[in-house]
């Protein structure tokens, strides 16, 4: 009984103490939004590539294949082999047969969104346990990478 009373008493007093001090306190209206301030970077993730935006044509664009290979050597090769062997991420052999171009584009340029929304991407993260990094690849560059992937998958 005594303990209970003491608890009630304490609660009541703390409440009063809190109320008595919070009066007149105004929140600072000019607080900066984290996201707004970090949108300055030349990092190119954020825009979702929509279904139908990417069109394939044959024969392959050989300039794009070369450009895509150069990007691969600098920014992708560290984790992806051109065979079906998994290194850090899955090997690229057959990727253009397994995935839609839209899926690949978003995975390259918009990986945060994919890991948040896309079930297939989430499955891959469970397997690989390393979030695919944003390698600062533009939409145009990513398109070239896909052309290189097509070449790797035997298209001409």
């Amino acid at each position: 009984m005594k303990t209970k009373l003491f608890i009630y008493l304490s609660l009541f007093l703390s409440l009063i103490w809190l109320m008595s001090c919070s009066e007149g306190v105004k929140k600072d209206a000019k607080m900066y939004d984290v996201q707004e301030l970090t949108k300055n970077q030349p990092e190119v993730h954020g825009t979702e590539v929509k279904e139908g935006e990417i069109a394939f044509s044959t024969p392959l664009n050989s300039e794009w294949v070369t450009g895509g290979k150069n990007i691969y050597d600098l920014k992708c090769l560290a984790c992806h082999k051109l065979t079906d062997e998994k290194l850090v991420g899955p090997g690229w052999a057959g990727v253009t047969k397994r995935r839609t171009p839209t899926w690949i584009m978003n995975m390259i340029t918009n990986v945060d969104m994919m890991l948040e929304k896309d079930e297939e991407a989430q499955k891959l993260l469970e397997q690989c346990l390393v979030r695919m990094p944003n390698q600062n690849i533009s939409k145009e560059e990513a398109r070239q990478v896909i052309e290189f992937m097509r070449k790797n998958d035997g298209e001409n």
Binding site: D28, Y32, T38, N40, P42, E43, L74, A78, V88, L129
Partner: protein, 665 residues
């Protein structure tokens, strides 16, 4: 408590609540002199940004620290004049030249005053400058990268305290000698010949308005007084620079007593536009000197150090109307121009009042030659003729003054441990608050500029005594944040600082955050030792140098197995971070290295020199947690005896095909 007492409970509660209500919001003596809403005013919710960046001198740590205001949270310690093993600064081959001086590699200094660049007298968020007091230097920090971009040594100087302080468009920063020394050919002299042989200088260092490159434009040769602080004129006084000086007695021993003899020392006024005229007329003398000029390139990610050998010196003897002295009571420290540029506030460390000088009156006194004799050939203006007025009985030991956006000044008082707010126009004291304890400099955001941002004043204290949990004989350094929104200053927050916080500037966050660099583009990496992709990773021997071109990405090195290094080799690890993702640096460390780790930003290349001292196999690993498999980010390097015939081999992820050749014949 029995039941009978229960009926009194409501009355008891009522009484209690009243007592608590009346007490809880009131100051309770100096330990809790904080108003009820202080915590909320200094609180920045998780995930929210602070309103201001606060660039704080690291004092004898040699670095500059960056805090958020109003939260007091520490964001970064930027290595400037001292080595920083955490960041590899001063240890990597790329950064070692930054700390080169005419004395060779100097791994430490004492950074006193940050100064932020301005355009038209208003913060522009481009650069921060800082001075090295011990081995005289000035550094320029790039606020895109929060890194030291350039360091220039100051010749003809025994100690650089009166520095850096910017002019209205960052045309110049200055360096005034705290310690006078013998100059020129006659260096080996008796210390007691101070008055005859010791001289001071102030240097004007020009800053390129496009890339910030610093250059010593000219020096002015001056009597051997000690220059303390300085401020540029602005607005109507643009083109002038004001320096406080003490030891006009020119004592060379027990300055504590001997430099406090005279009732008045000086504030020196320099007409630098006039100096520029004399310079173009060829009045300057070329002097042979030796000083280092170090620049860090964002393209090559490396520093170069160049030794310069000449400086141009102007002597007031040959250049009349360029320098004047104004008497200022009792060893002045602060020397601060108000936002309009009309008023110059002197703060005598031992004074009990604050003299405020008028720029208009200074010009009138100069025109009328209203002099009070001269000091070592330099005209001394009459005190009364240049005085706007004195702030009477403000406190004891005024040190430094900053200004808000409403025409008020805030002066720190070391001896009486307080901040005093007064009105510049009529010199009336408006308010005072205690500081804990012994405040040195203070800072109002934008306080030294034409456009103060106001809102807060921050006290940088010399002593903290009982304010924090004890940590042995040395206690934390500290700052205190006060709100200056209302008529009364209100203490909001104590926060610890690194090193000794001499001076600080605060700037609205958006002026800097919007330009902050996130990654170095790997395509633009011009480091001669870059590895452009894992395909180019390799190991090359050049005589007894072994160059390892290594890459790092989450979470492996290429190569991570290296053999063929021999005892006596100098091994250079050139590590390129292939990541292009913000906030993903990789670290690199190898067992037994006599220097430090590397911390490599995304897209950057940094080099660690390792001289193995024994044979064996040595692990190396990534020190900065990078992914779930960070712990696996490791490798081995084998060191064989000097005469061994183990060939250079390197790999990552390959199965060993054949047994390695025997280590020795």
């Amino acid at each position: 408590m029995n039941l009978r007492m229960l009926k009194y409970l409501p009355i008891l509660l009522g009484l209690f609540s009243f007592v608590i209500w009346t007490n809880s919001c009131k100051p309770k003596g100096i330990q809790t002199a904080v108003s009820g809403d202080a915590a909320v005013k200094a609180y920045v919710p998780p995930g929210k940004y602070d309103e201001f960046y606060n660039f704080v001198s690291g004092g004898f740590s040699g670095q500059m620290s960056v805090y958020g205001l109003p939260s007091g949270r520490l964001f970064r310690v930027i290595p400037v004049f001292s080595v920083d093993p955490e960041k590899g600064y001063g240890y990597s081959e790329e950064t070692k030249p930054m700390l080169n001086t005419s004395h060779g590699f100097v791994p430490w200094d004492d950074l006193h005053h940050p100064a932020l660049s301005v355009t038209d007298g208003i913060h522009d968020g481009r650069w921060a400058f800082g001075n090295a007091n011990n081995t005289p230097r000035i550094a320029r920090l790039d606020l895109k990268t929060f890194r030291t971009a350039e360091i220039i040594e100051i010749p003809n100087s025994g100690g650089n305290h009166s520095s850096p302080f910017v002019t209205e468009n960052t045309e110049y920063i200055v360096a005034g000698t705290r310690f006078s020394v013998p100059m020129g050919d006659k260096q080996d002299v008796a210390i007691s010949s101070y008055k005859e042989n010791f001289r001071g200088t102030v240097s004007f260092i020009s800053v390129d308005k496009n890339d910030g490159a610093m250059k010593i434009a000219f020096q002015i040769l001056l009597p051997g007084v000690n220059f303390d602080l300085a401020r540029a004129g602005k607005g109507k006084s643009h083109g002038w620079f004001f320096f406080s000086c003490y030891n006009s007695e020119r004592a060379n021993t027990l300055l504590e007593v001997n430099a406090s003899q005279k009732d008045k020392d000086f504030i020196m006024a320099v007409n630098w536009k006039k100096a520029e005229e004399y310079l173009s007329q060829g009045k300057g003398m070329k002097k042979a000197v030796k000083y280092a000029h170090n620049t860090y390139s964002e393209q090559t990610h490396s520093a170069t150090s160049k030794i310069e050998t000449e400086v141009i010196v102007l002597d007031p003897k040959d250049c009349p109307d360029m320098v004047y002295f104004m008497p200022c009571p009792k060893s002045p420290h602060g020397c601060d121009t108000d936002p309009t540029g009309e008023y110059i506030v002197g703060s005598g460390k031992l004074a009990a009042m604050i003299p405020v000088f008028s720029f208009t009156k200074i010009q009138e006194a100069i025109a009328a030659k209203n002099f009070d004799g001269d000091y070592e050939g330099i005209p001394v203006l009459k005190y009364e003729a240049v005085l706007h007025g004195e702030v009477k009985k403000p406190g004891l030991g005024p040190l430094h003054t900053e200004f808000d956006d409403k025409g008020n000044a805030y002066t720190s008082f070391f001896v009486s441990s307080e901040i005093v707010k007064w009105r510049v126009s009529d010199l009336q004291v408006l308010d005072r608050v205690p500081t804990y304890y012994s405040i040195g400099h203070l800072c109002v955001p934008g306080g030294p500029t034409k456009k103060p941002w106001g809102k807060y004043v921050i006290a940088y204290n010399k002593i903290t005594k009982d304010r924090y949990l004890p940590t042995g004989p040395e206690l934390t350094q500290s700052a205190q944040l006060y709100s200056i929104d209302g008529e009364k200053m209100k203490l909001l927050l104590d926060f610890p600082t690194i090193g000794e916080p001499h001076y600080a500037e605060a700037i609205p966050a958006e002026l800097i955050s919007k330009n902050s660099l996130k990654v170095y583009k790997i395509e633009e990496n011009k480091n001669p030792y870059v590895t452009m992709g894992e395909k180019n990773a390799r190991v090359e021997r050049k005589g007894n140098e072994v160059h390892i071109y290594m890459t790092s990405i989450r979470s492996h090195f290429v190569p991570d197995n290296i053999e063929g290094v021999k005892l006596g080799d100098a091994v250079y690890f050139h590590v390129t971070n292939l990541e292009q993702d913000w906030d993903v640096p990789h670290g690199f460390a190898v067992k037994g290295a006599n220097n430090a780790e590397l911390l490599i930003m995304p897209g950057e290349t940094q080099t660690l020199l390792w001289k193995p001292d024994r044979i064996g196999v040595f692990p190396m690993y990534c020190t900065d947690f990078c992914s779930a498999l960070h712990q696996e980010m490791q490798g081995y390097i084998r060191v064989s005896p000097a005469g061994a015939n183990v060939p250079i081999t390197f790999s990552t992820g390959k199965k060993v095909e054949a047994a390695a050749p025997p280590a020795t014949k």
